[in-house]
Subunit: 268 residues, 2 copies
């Protein structure tokens, strides 16, 4: 998590991890593998299904903060790094047919089509690094577990076949630390930005905070309040519901490692 | 509360109010009398008591955000406006001897001493204007009451004779609006900045939220959470406790109207 190294060093470390991913030999999840560097959520859709999804991202920027979108068939994502190849550089892909998971693989070159459009969305790893750098403690990281994620009753704005509730991630803080966390994450609108809620989970339709819909539960200590951020699982959930004939995503935790610094995405 | 007028217009309105105050004819409280303009909390102390207080302000910037401090005997506060005269321009003064209120008056020229040091501190009116401009609703303003203020168990950092608990003001919001309010007030560190707490009042030593120590109670509706900001009553409370032989302040709500725009104090 430390980011005191030079940008060149950080990019060199990231590049090393990305080359491992390209070679199919980066088996473990990417968090911690590229300090200071933006990791992205990936979704690849055929052109006929891409325009509505692009509009969906625009209409729902907190859960779907778009880092880049390719032209149809374009597989080199220059905005994210000189040599980023979306066909090979994600450590582990998931293939969905009609919204159903059918396979996992470390390379999709053999599946590539000329009409595939690639979406890369920001990820909370970026703001978590900023929170830790500011001296805040993230319990799920200290426990070595996944962040707790919940389906809410907060609606997204629909676009074509894409609709459904927002998914949020939750991190518990004492109120003074929650205020700091709100300030810090406000600086990163391209990676979910400020929280969407804090306090009573029932207000956003979460029946049991001890039972997340994704990830692992995390205890909330006395004097702490749960703080909820829009989560990158929202677009995946929405795509599954829309059931496009084909969709390729990253495997959760196995993100695309870019050449871009988290610090480049700080709004102020 | 609207600030869509030009800076020159806003300063002209402020100047009009300040001239009325100077003439002793601005009897009503200052909120609403100078849209877009910084109003200040005032404390005047003899030199022997001023240095520790200046250090107190520096050590406790959230409750005591110093806008300017004069040299001993200096009564024109050029940093706040071309002709601001601290002896005449506060609409109503309060005179304290040994921490006890002994008189109120619209002019202190006859009391002025060559060793008097004037402190002007930022005031929440500035950030309240920013909150309202952003579309948030402030219930105490809509009800036409004073904001609710409470003594807490949050200690200030002592400096010489000055010490005591922080006083906070409270405004209720739904969580999503509270997050916006935290973002907006973070932009104004010179006028108390971000909140110091939200949620459970008992965590900061407030026994009964329905019984403020200063100002008026305000109802908290279902689904709302109380949000607490450091308050400019803190320095007044601390000065009363320190019991300097003489101290002159503004009468609450009768603030010094400056020539400075609230927008000038926005950090970003």
């Amino acid at each position: 998590m430390q980011t005191s190294q030079s940008p060149d060093n950080l990019r060199a470390i990231a590049r090393q991890s990305r080359l491992q991913a390209r070679a199919g030999s980066l088996a473990s999840p990417t968090p911690g593998r590229s300090p200071g560097i933006v990791q992205g959520n990936v979704a690849i859709l055929p052109r006929d299904w891409a325009d509505d999804f692009l509009r969906f991202c625009h209409l729902n920027q907190k859960p779907c903060p778009l880092l880049t979108v390719s032209r149809p068939g374009e597989y080199l994502l220059n905005e994210l790094g000189d040599d980023v190849d979306i066909r090979t550089d994600v450590p582990m892909y998931r293939l969905f047919h009609d919204g159903k998971l059918v396979d996992e693989m470390p390379d999709i070159s053999h599946l590539w089509q000329d009409d595939y459009v690639s979406f890369v969305l920001g990820c909370s790893f970026s703001f978590e690094e900023a929170l830790v750098s500011a001296g805040l403690r993230l319990r799920h990281l200290e426990r070595g577990t996944d962040v707790a994620m919940y389906r809410t009753n907060i609606p997204t704005t629909a676009s074509g076949p894409y609709s459904g509730p927002m998914v949020v991630s939750m991190r518990p803080f004492k109120p003074a630390d929650a205020i700091r966390a709100i300030q810090i994450t406000s600086r990163f609108p391209r990676v979910h930005g400020a929280p969407v809620h804090f306090g009573d989970p029932a207000q956003i339709g979460i029946a049991d905070i001890a039972k997340p819909d994704w990830g692992d539960p995390v205890p909330i200590e006395p004097g702490e309040t749960p703080v909820f951020w829009a989560c990158g699982v929202t677009p995946q959930s929405v795509i599954e519901y829309a059931k496009p004939p084909v969709c390729i995503t990253h495997k959760p935790g196995h993100m695309l490692i870019t050449d871009r610094l988290n610090a480049e995405y700080s709004a102020f």
